[in-house]
Homo-oligomer: 174 residues x 2
């Protein structure tokens, strides 16, 4: 999973011609000027948990114990982080992760994009990158549980609600 | 997770007074006669994949490559098998497994009960056992994707469809 991609203007077009040793992928938002900020994806799970917590704070999520967040990240099959890179400065602007049995099923959790960076197709690019990583691992059944306000977002990415009447169900402790 | 339980008549009542080294749990279906068949649960993932395939055949599931089944079982957080034990003979009559991030979320997959043994509360007992295992691991968000014909079965176990409008969604390759 060590490669770079450039997406020129159209987030559907993926150019995987660039590969580095960093395990990261660059989303080039139309600019060919390398002095401009770049959007970079990484699957490195060695994250700063405080930086991740700040990102989740920005979208108003309830805080979770960092000890458990660390366990969850360690035991996720896929961890994707999205960064804005300006020169030597990097800022965490998006995140997603997936649990999986490594064979048939994956379930995507904790998809978040910094509100300041929303509305530019970055959520779409983050999900497309996450899906491509799962597909390259030969996972065919990719699932998630979508809050009502993001169902249409996932539908535009090709996710189907309740296919053949299959229902997502939740059990909570009393 | 090494303990025995006896459930006398009422599958909701759990008596964990019996513990052995076998890592198995006995479901006593009302009979106190030890010569009668017993229903035993195990979390041992060292299963005979051909026996599991036969069980899945009995409910008409499409066959899956055993190589991938093995990977999926190895990378499941929880694997539960249900056995009928008569003397020294054991027969696999039920199965379920769950993926998890080991911290927040678990998703239950591949719940199957031999049709010959359905209608006796064994599916309910299998699920209750699976839930209790996940709860004992401090997993609070237990999810699954239910086919239309088993939605009511899971609702009786306390699972909720689309809580707060959250929708289960699937992505399939083209």
């Amino acid at each position: 999973m060590v490669f770079w991609k450039k997406l020129f203007n159209n987030p559907d077009a993926v150019d995987t011609s660039k590969t580095t040793e960093s395990g990261e992928e660059v989303l080039n938002l139309g600019s060919k000027d390398d002095s401009q900020p770049q959007i970079v994806f990484s699957t490195d799970r060695d994250l700063d948990y405080y930086e991740l917590e700040e990102l989740c704070d920005r979208v108003g999520w309830a805080r979770r114990p960092l000890r458990k967040v660390k366990i969850a990240i360690e035991h996720s099959f896929l961890v994707v982080s999205m960064w804005e890179v300006k020169g030597k400065k990097r800022r965490l602007i998006g995140f997603s992760r997936a649990t999986s049995d490594h064979a048939f099923n994956a379930t995507i959790w904790d998809v978040v994009v910094d509100p300041k960076y929303q509305g530019q197709g970055l959520g779409k690019a983050l999900m497309k990158y996450s899906i491509s990583q799962l597909r390259s691992a030969d996972i065919s059944n990719i699932t998630l549980f979508a809050d009502p306000q993001v169902v249409k977002f996932y539908q535009r990415l090709g996710f189907i609600v309740d296919p053949e009447g299959i229902k997502g169900m939740f059990w909570y402790p009393d």
